[in-house]
Structure formats: C-alpha cells, structure tokens
C-alpha cells in the first residue's frame, strides 16, 4: 500500500501559540490513498496540528519540517496550500454575512482551477457541478443561496464543509473534529460524503476526540496524540482499544515504549 514518497511528511514538528508550546515533536507520514485518524484528549494539540498544516499564522512553528508533495509546505502562504490541494474542514466554520454560499464556492473553485491551469467554469457548468455534489451531503438547495454559514445549524455547517470539499476536490483533506456537535443521523450523512470522496489519489486525515466517527469513516491508520507528541500509532483496532480503556491508558508515553510513532 505504501509505495513511493509520502504526500505529507512531518518531522519533529514543534509549534506554539504565543509563547505556549503545543506540539513537541510530531512525526507523521501520509501517503496518497490513505485515511489517517489523529485522536487524543482535549488540549493534546490535534487542532493545532490541523491548523499548522493549513497555515494559520497564530500557530507558530518553532522547529521541525513539513514536506508536501516534495516541497516545503511551511514556506507557502495558506492560499497557496489551498490551491495546491490542501483542504481543512473547520471545526467551527465562520459566517460571512451577505456573501452567498454559491458565490463563495465559485470564487474558491475558480481560484483553484486557475492555479491548476484549468479554465474557470461558467455559471451553468458550475451550477451542474454543485448540484451533483449537493446530493453527496444531502443538503437542501436553498442553503446554496443563503450567506456562507449564516444562520446555519451546527449540522448544516459541517455538511457545508464537506460540500466544499467535494466541489474543490483536494489532494489532502483534513477534517478537524467534523463529528463534534453532530447527531447520529447527521454523522452518518457526513461520513458517507467523506467516504464517497476516498480515492487512491487522495489522502484524508481525520482529527477526532471520539472513536464514534471512525465506525463510519474507517481509517487505515490511527495515531494517538498526547501532550503534543504522537505516543502510539496503529491500525483501526487502536481506536477501539482506546474507546475501551480511555486515554489514561496511553498517557505515559515513555513507560509504554512499544508502538512508537514511525515517520
């Protein structure tokens, strides 16, 4: 399964918010076609990792490196990363009053297409593309005409993120706590949308606190992040074990040794 160079390769990554260190040496390699789950207790650095990959400036990288498709990811501004195929499904998608969801999607898609040397879609082609992807997330058409996330319910916001992902067709998608605040039905819909987007060319990193989401999006690899380090990596079963035994089980990384994270 793991042929060639990884799409994303993180080495001894340290990052801080202000002066407070959050990530303390993360190593992780993600290949095309793989689905990785990053799990961990609150405050372990999961969201920080997701935001550092996407390029959010408040998260300051203090040392280490991140390579993406062979290039230095950390040298790229966030919009370049996006155009190169990195997509972050936000934990708390923001509202943009007055800007229609459809207009926003079109601007984003055309920015990505221009970057890839493709023609911008005209309004009819775009409409057809969106309507087709809309079915993936079982979203109502009228949400497209409303302002971006403005007055959306928690579930609608999360679905909207997956819709954007479906339209933008990223190479590397990072889902930051996409399951938080979803009831079981919404969770199934969102998971089905994500599963439909699994492909040999695409890598997906699912960041989550709970195992529950992984019943629906089944990962190839599970990593446990504790205090800014990946203390354990394994297969699907690791998540189930975690659910049974709790994070306390992996809290002491040095003592456990065993399945240390491998790049």
């Amino acid at each position: 399964m793991r042929n060639g160079n990884p799409m994303l390769s993180i080495s001894t990554l340290h990052a801080a918010i202000g002066e407070k260190p959050i990530l303390r040496g993360v190593d992780l390699a993600v290949h095309a076609g793989e689905v990785h789950a990053v799990m961990g207790p609150n405050g372990s650095g999961k969201s920080t990792l997701a935001n550092v990959i996407a390029g959010r400036e408040e998260y300051r990288v203090t040392s280490g490196s991140v390579r993406y498709q062979g290039g230095d990811l950390l040298a790229m501004p966030p919009e370049e990363r996006a155009k190169e195929g990195i997509f972050l499904a936000f934990q708390n998608p923001v509202e943009i009053p007055g800007v229609s969801n459809l207009y926003f999607l079109k601007a984003a898609l055309n920015a990505v297409r221009r970057h890839r040397g493709l023609q911008e879609l005209d309004v009819v082609e775009f409409r057809d593309t969106v309507l087709e992807r809309l079915r993936l997330v079982a979203m109502e058409e009228d949400l497209l005409l409303r302002a971006v996330n403005d007055g959306f319910s928690g579930g609608e916001k999360k679905r909207n993120e997956i819709l954007q992902m479906a339209v933008l067709e990223p190479r590397l998608a990072i889902l930051d706590e996409t399951d938080s605040g979803l009831d079981i039905d919404a969770l199934k819909v969102v998971a089905a949308g994500v599963n439909a987007l699994r492909s040999p060319e695409r890598a997906i990193v699912v960041v989550t606190h709970y195992q529950r989401l992984l019943n629906y999006i089944v990962p190839d690899f599970v990593h446990v992040l504790v205090e800014g380090r990946i203390v354990r990596s394994g297969g699907r079963n690791l998540a189930l074990e975690l659910e049974e035994r709790g994070y306390g089980w992996v809290q002491a990384p040095e003592a456990e040794g065993g399945e240390e994270a491998r790049p």
Partner: protein, 482 residues
Amino acid sequence: MENAASQVKGWVEREYRWGFVSPVEADTIPKGISEEVIRTISARKNEPEFLLERRLKAYRQWQTMIEPRWSTVRYNPIDFQDIVYYSAPRGMKDRPKSLGEIDPELLRTYERLGISLIEQKLLAGVAVDAVFDSVSVATTYQKELAKLGILFCSFSEAVHLYPRLVEKYLGTVVPFNDNYFASLNSAVFTDGSFCYIPPGVRCPMELSTYFRINAENTGQFERTLIIADAGSYVSYLEGCTAPRRDTNQLHAAVVELIALEDAEIRYATVQNWYPGDKEGKGGIYNFVTKRGLCAGNRSRISWTQVETGSAITWKYPSVILKGDDSVGQFHGVALTNNFQQADTGSKMTHIGRNTRSTIVNKGISSGRGQNTYRGLVKVLKTAENARNFTQCDSLLLGDRCGAHTFPYIEVKNPTARVEHEASTSKIGEDQLFYCQQRGLSREDAVSMIVNGFCREVIRNLPMEFAVEAQKLLEISLEGSVG
C-alpha cells in the same frame, strides 16, 4: 490581529484614478463672495429677476448664520472668500447646440471617466446630464424623453425653458434658510439637473447626472430639482469625481425631490470625489442637503448612496412623509479610509397617516477613517400608524479607525412603531483565514467580506451602478495584501 493591521496599512496605498486635470480653458470669475458676485453669476446665466431676488435673500440669511458644529467631522475653517464661485469651460456661456460643438477636451474628460457623451456609445437606457465645474455641458437623449413629455435638462436651461415649474417648486423642500450650507447654495448655486415627469408617465430609462470638478479653488454648488407628477415614476443616478489636488475644495449641493400622488422617485448616488492623499492632505469637503417630499398620498421616495470619496462627507438624505400611506427609504454605504471623515445618515419625518420608512446604513472604517451614522426618525402627532425600521451596521478594519452611531427618535403619536437595530463588527482573522484556506488571496477575501457587508444596499442600485459601486469598493481595497 497584527495581520489585519498590516492589511489595513495596505489600503492606505489606494490610488485615486480620477485625479487628472483637463486642459480646458475656463471662464472664471475672481475669488470671493459678495452681493456683486451673486449678481454676476445671475447675470452670466441670464436669470429672471425672481431668481436673483431669491439668491440675494439666501445670501443675506447666510451671513447671519454660523457654520454647524454639531457633527463629528473636524476640519480647518473654510475661507469663503478664497473660493471661486463660478467657473465654466470657455465657450460654454452659450451652451453648445449639439455634441459636435463641445470642446473635444471635455468629451475626452468624460470618456476617461467612463462616461461617453456621444449618444451612440452610451450605455443603453441611461440619459446623462454632465456637469463640469459650474455648468452643464451636455444632456443626452433629451429628444426621446421629450416625446413622453419628460423634461430633462440642466438647471440653467430649465430656468429659461420652464420658469413656472422652477418658481413653483424650487426651495419648497429645502427652503433658502434651511441650514448654513443650503443657504450658501441657494445664494451661489450654478448648475445641476432638472427633471419633470408628467402625470402617469413611467420614465423608460435611468436619468443620470455626472458631476465633475476640474478647475482649481472652485466650489461646486449644484442644484437639482426633480418633480414626479401624479402616478409617474423615475429612477435617477448621480456620479461624482474630481482631480487630485493638495488643497481642499468645497462641494455644497442641494437636491430637492417632489413626489405627487402615487408617484415614485428612486435616487441613487455613487459619490467618489477625491478623498485626499494618505496623509489627509487635500480632498473634497462634501456638505450636501438632499431631501425629498412625499407630497401626495401613496407616493414613494427612495435614496440609495454609496459614498467612497471626499475628505469630509456631511449629508443626510431625508424624506418628509406628508401624504398618507407614503413610503420613504434610505440605503447607504459610507467607506472612510486614511483620514477621511463621514457624518452621514438619514432623516425621516412622518406627517401623514400610515406612513412607512426604512433606513439601512452600512459604515466601513479603515486607516484612520472616522465614520458616523446620524439619523432622526420623527413621528408627528398627525402620523397615525407610522412605522419605521432602522438598521445601522459598522465594520471596522484595523484599530485606528472609528465608528459612531447617533440615532435620534422623536415620537409624538402613540400608535407609532419604531424599530432600531445596530451592530459593530471587525473583519476577523477567522474570516480571512477561512477564505484563504479556500484559495482566495487576503485582498480578495477582504473585498468579498466588505461587499457582502454592503449587499443589502448595493442590490438597491440599478444594475450598471451596482457593478460600478462594487468595483469602486474593490478599488478602495486595492493593495491590501498583508
């Protein structure tokens, strides 16, 4: 927020693209204001006696008045003796009979401003009256409009062609003693547009006036009068630009609208006077009185304005709702950048029964810009069942600008229902990052967020103007990559 701050700094680099000067020879009178100057202006325009009398009355009134100090705008005292009150492109004393007679430089000027005076090239469906400094240089589509009985011409022409209409309506909405700047205008106004729509006629095209200040040290005192007779409809657009200069120039206009029974007037402004440079030097002082009178029952007046220019903007387009069931609306966007100051809003006076009014104002402040919303909703005793809804939202970019809100409400009738909503927000790093994560540059993101913020107002503009207004907002945001 460091990033938003550096972004805002980028705004400061904004370019004013309309800042050129046209090499047009001008017929200019000496600086200063006096009865003699007013007599000269009136004589140059060959005005009837009644108008000169009104000018002199206004001038005497103005001399007894003091400059208003209640607004938040701060500026150096205006030396009214240092202003030229009349400047006309040479050869314009007798208005050219055809476009072929207009100075080619003038045609070029308007071409550069994106307004072609050559009729064939005009945007289909927009008739333009072009005012250059103190005089109107061309009015297009006049003949076609005349077939419908619509009178559309420069104010100076109207004085000669339709003196009775002018005498009957001029000063009925904004009296000569209304306020300091309106009185000054009533004394020295030079030109502007005049429009009369006869009963039952729906004006088939947008009427438009384009104001251009060119000459140095010249004040522009335009006067516009629009009368919509019973059951008629007109949509009117106004655009403005001026050259870039280090000195401040005064623009004190008066616009009067009168809607008779069942008539509707929609008046839209995109104001882009020179705003001054990034140190706050130069720029237009824009002191304007705009007021509409819903004289007849079921009449409607709507003001829409997008204000991105001027060093100082002081204007409160208002509606007097006299007729029963009449409707007044105001939708405004004011953007202040660098050292620009705006004190703007609206005034709705409810007199008739079942009168309704809406005020929607969007203020955007950046750089060291100061933006004030000032509004008055007044419900008189007679205004049974009056309704008002006011919403004013402020958007701040950076941390050196300011937004202020002064909503005044006076209600004398207990059946009135007056609602007021207000909000202040900042463009957040969250919003910018969200857009960037989807592939948009910071600059595009800011522009998108600002346009979204103004959407309610922009969509009130006629199509061509909406596009222009959006572009203008974008240009104002140029060079903002953080």
